[in-house]
């Protein structure tokens, strides 16, 4: 059985997650082996996922951590003996 490119596109995400049923995966695999277009779509999608998951791409703003912990400290120190959600009476 042979599937067309547009049907392979429906399986790109499942293929990347390795969540396709074995028969479907084999079909897609066979198509990718000879289809330059679909294998480039698969590669580009995979590479975009690698980029978006890469921590180096996303940086925290300068001073973010200091400002966050200063604000938390103010909140915590407001009631230093009171744990979060502790009864107030």
């Amino acid at each position: 059985m042979v599937i067309e490119c547009k049907h392979v596109w429906d399986y790109i995400s499942g293929y990347l997650d390795n969540s396709l049923p074995p028969d479907t995966r084999d079909l897609v695999q066979r198509h990718l082996e000879h289809c330059e277009i679909c294998s480039a779509i698969l590669d580009s999608t995979r590479n975009i996922l690698v980029l978006t998951a890469d921590d180096r791409v996303f940086e925290l703003p300068v001073g973010f951590s200091e400002r966050l912990h200063a604000r938390l400290a103010r909140e915590i120190n407001r009631n230093p003996d009171k744990p979060p959600d502790a009864p107030t009476d």
């Binding site: 590669d43 580009s44 999608t45 590479n47 978006t52 400002r67 744990p83």
Partner: protein, 195 residues
């Protein structure tokens, strides 16, 4: 550590949340689309998590719980800004047509030398921000925070099947938008338009 904080050692909360600062900010930024609002959302989320820490039962991972709080905080703020109503008009129906990917003849390599370039970061942020909220949430949790399908489903209170459908569409939208842009951002590579 959570038990110690609840028992009164509240200073330990600083250490508890340090590993999650980046992911909470990134989640917030994906929704708020500017760093100032994202930082506000991130701070509020950490404060809410502190106040509600006694509600954390340990059934989910702490990171998933924290992300859920951030998600709600971002949604609430957007709702107050009136942005959700506007964005929802652009919502693509889940049963909608197939999303055709960008057709490129060749893209074999990750442009790793470009990772620290602000230009690439901006393109990624813009592409994520351009997804409608239903797809953006799933994409962020699965492909940025790297939660499993079931963890994503739990955080968003949707079924695993819906996660998979939305994720597929989100990934195809990202490919369609980003593949041509990233190719152009790095012209020395052997990337050719398919024409």
């Amino acid at each position: 550590m959570i038990a110690a904080i609840l028992a009164g050692q509240t200073e330990q909360y600083h250490e508890l949340i340090r590993p999650y600062e980046r992911s909470v900010f990134r989640m917030a930024l994906s929704f708020m689309k500017n760093e100032f609002d994202a930082e506000e959302v991130a701070q509020e989320s950490f404060l809410k998590a502190f106040r509600k820490l006694a509600d954390f039962r340990g059934e989910a991972k702490f990171s998933t719980w924290l992300i859920s709080i951030t998600l709600n905080e971002a949604r609430g703020r957007l709702r107050r800004q009136g942005a959700v109503r506007i964005e929802s008009l652009d919502e693509t129906p889940e049963e909608g047509g197939r999303i055709s990917p960008a057709l490129l003849r060749d893209w074999r390599e990750v442009p790793s030398e470009a990772l620290e370039r602000k230009e690439i970061r901006k393109l990624l942020e813009q592409a994520i921000a351009s997804l409608s909220p239903l797809y953006r949430e799933v994409f962020i949790l699965r492909d940025i925070e790297e939660l499993s399908v079931s963890e994503t489903a739990a955080a968003l209170t949707i079924t695993p099947g819906t996660v998979k459908i939305r994720l597929h569409r989100a990934r195809m939208m990202m490919q369609k938008q980003l593949a041509p842009q990233l190719k152009n951002a790095n012209p020395k590579r052997r990337w050719f338009p398919w024409s």
